[in-house]
Symmetry: C2
Subunit: 255 residues, 2 copies
């Protein structure tokens, strides 16, 4: 035991929001130096997708040289079932993925864009780290939900993110009205997201089904050159130029 190293830390490493976009953001524009430096020094990674993590690390390497060649890094993908269904229900035991940390290596947790474990896979890994008594350190970087909330002008002192809406038209409308009720009665801003190809249907339902005075914000492309943020009442939106809906968008309902 005399040679045992202290346990490693689980770092939550945010990535740029340009995943899948035509234009890449310079990493230094959206990640502080501490985040880049820690990322460059890690030899072990747990990720949603190894390929996108390697692409990210190549970009990091151009700013701070990686401590090891890319090929020598240990990059472990979360099981597909975990990141398809969400990993917060507690059925998935991620403790075996953290063995290297028990042996003294720091580990980085990443998703494809933004902050891991927030509207993205990863919470099972953080949960496992707490179960093992490991130190967990979140690093600073872009989080689309929070940028969208701040930019909406809606209540940021009481808000909820509720994930995706139902796909069925009737259930979706019912859910939208439920969220509108929560926003109007409790003053709690309601944020949600949708797969881009369903954005247009969601938008129609929202304009037709909600009350004219309810305020609705859209945010897309945040941190990118063509960012779009706008907040109007439903009544105003009905008269306004339609917003772009062809890319990932954070919707917010408030009063």
């Amino acid at each position: 035991m005399s040679n045992a190293r202290a346990p490693g830390t689980l770092y939550l490493v945010p990535t740029p929001l340009d995943f899948g976009c035509d234009t890449a953001t310079a990493l230094t524009e959206v990640l502080p130096d501490a985040t880049l430096r820690v990322a460059a020094g890690l030899s072990h990674w747990i990720t949603e997708n190894a390929k996108s993590t390697r692409a990210f690390l190549k970009r990091v390497d151009a700013i701070h040289a990686l401590s090891q060649p890319l090929q020598a890094l240990h990059i472990t993908e979360l099981p597909r079932a975990v990141h398809k269904k969400g990993d917060h229900q507690g059925e998935f035991d991620a403790r075996p993925l953290l063995q290297a940390a028990l042996e003294g290596d720091d580990i980085g947790l990443v998703s494809e864009a933004g902050m891991p474990a927030v509207a993205d896979p990863g919470s099972s890994v953080v949960r496992a780290a707490h179960a093992l008594g490991l130190r967990v350190q979140p690093l600073v970087g872009p989080v689309s939900l929070l940028l969208a909330l701040a930019a909406s002008g809606l209540n940021g002192q009481n808000f909820a993110f509720v994930g995706y809406l139902p796909q069925d038209a009737h259930a979706r409308l019912q859910r939208l009205r439920e969220l509108e009720g929560l926003a109007q009665r409790g003053g709690q801003t309601q944020l949600f997201i949708e797969t881009p190809y369903r954005n247009a249907a969601l938008w129609s339902a929202l304009l037709q089904g909600l009350q004219a005075r309810t305020r609705v914000a859209l945010a897309s492309g945040l941190t990118l050159p063509d960012a779009h943020v706008r907040c109007l009442s439903v009544g105003e939106w009905r008269q306004a130029e339609p917003p772009p809906l062809d890319r990932p968008t954070v919707f917010s309902i408030g009063v």
Copy 2:
């Protein structure tokens, strides 16, 4: 009209989380270069507190020279009533504060720590910017709520931030149990904050009043050298070493 400039942008400028702390974080550790560069270039500011904004801008100046001397900057404080009571109810019309943007100057919105308009004053100003058709651009930086959520290992696909709890002991316990119910029945992680001198009373109520299986995370000092993050079940917390409770802390309840 031929000399009219295009309207300015309202930038939401995040600041470090070391406000009121003994140790200062190097700005480059928590703010990306784009945030620092934009901050250095702005001549107009709207803030919770002019003194802390000047202190922040002095730190920015050491990295990117300010475009104008500190004394020449236009720094406008939000009325005290707005930031005491919260400014999301819509009674405060912040449009007059944005006159410079209508005349072509960019304006920065800041709070004392973290992201303005998220668990902090500022949403009235963002609301006014949308009402005037101004561009709103949130910049990347630390947001304690989201760092705390990611680091909790609790459900980050469905969560709510509900602000402060009631001060009265009975009402507080009732509210805690209500939040526990929301977390257990709906799977929605519930985040809240408290004034540090009430943290100990809150913590006792929480340990005594919630169910043993409910999971509770605390996060404080995030991005600082002595950051503390831990998530255990209430049953485990009852047996564990008490967490530090003497500074601003984000509490999360989940399953």
